[in-house]
Subunit: 192 residues, 2 copies
DNA sequence: CCTACCGATCGGTAGG
DNA sequence: CCTACCGATCGGTAGG
């Protein structure tokens, strides 16, 4: 049984950076959660910043893959948009990645400001790409009111950003009610 | 000319806590921005936590006052809702309080979790109260589609939460476009 | 309001 | 993978 402490460190760091933040998580915290002593971390990583970089890289791959696997159905824009919304909400509620992603996109630790901004726009392009396909279907679809693609995209991203933030504030049952109500008004606004 | 360093300390702390966060702001940072040495802070406050508590208290008073002064017009629900939305957006863009409020509601420093949660619900009640008056006007108003009050409230709060978050990500010109597009879809959803 | 100092904790290194 | 240690920085105190 190989222990593979390098993977363990990344896993623990993902969790602790998400819960407490980068600066508030010490290498001692990480090491003791893994079951080793602090200096042993340096066998696997060049330092604390190196751990963060590795964790963030894994996170982006995980997220991009998850959205890339979303199956869209031809000529079903309303259905497709709902699927994207549901995938977003479920990842938000069920993955450790979401917590760290929320933290670092909102309040990036100083040394990583540029890196995180870059990753943020990379991730947003993935979502924007999916929205583009859906819009292409929807613009000729009689069921949708007239919106430009930037309006369509902006309104959807604002909806998910609102949901994203509220997931942080409310208990799950209240959160679900709010999510449903917001979706209802949004889809009433978008579709005839 | 009285220097009034106690007020200076609060002002500087509001700004630094907002920009860098509570844990990442040192008493040395605060003191040197005020133009004094670190131990002199203890003439005005019992410690770092005491400064934070005082700043947060002032912040809540400022915000509650600002929303309390919002003038609503009888039987103009759509107009009133837009005013509330605009007040929210303008405070978001123009006050230092908004940055600190974003930070601490989203990722409260450990020692203040309970205090901040309490203040959060207190502030939300202020907004919910305003939305209640607007809904009372709107529910008999033929221009609004049928939504329950919880749906109405949830959808509005999700909209402003989305805007709140996006203000952080985008430059002002892009932010304004997104804000306008989101409001457009939202109001199409709410009103006939 | 200051200088001088405290114990604790941080990321990181030496050396095995 | 460990023990033992480093210089820097933290919040806070003594004493004037």
């Amino acid at each position: 049984m190989k222990t593979n402490n390098k993977e363990k460190i990344k896993k623990v760091a993902l969790s602790l950076f998400g819960q407490k933040g980068y600066e508030e998580t010490s290498l001692h915290d990480i090491a003791s959660a893994v079951g080793i002593k602090k200096p042993s971390i340096y066998n696997h990583f060049a330092g604390k910043e190196d751990i963060f970089t590795a964790v963030l890289e894994d996170l982006l791959i995980t997220e991009t893959t998850a959205y890339g696997e979303l199956k869209l159905r031809k000529d079903e824009p309303a259905e497709n948009l709902k699927r994207l919304f549901d995938l977003f909400c479920s990842r938000l509620m069920n993955t450790e990645e979401a917590l760290l992603w929320k933290r670092v996109t909102f309040f990036p630790p100083e040394p990583f400001k540029d890196l995180i901004e870059e990753k943020f726009f990379e991730f947003e392009e993935t979502i924007t790409g999916i929205l583009h396909s859906i819009y292409e279907d929807a613009k000729d679809f009689s069921g949708m009111k007239h919106f430009t693609e930037p309006e369509f995209t902006a309104a959807f991203l604002c909806l998910v950003d609102g949901v994203f933030l509220e997931h942080h504030y409310y208990r799950e049952d209240i959160f679900r009610q709010r999510m449903d109500a917001s979706w209802k008004v949004f889809s009433f606004g978008l579709f005839k």
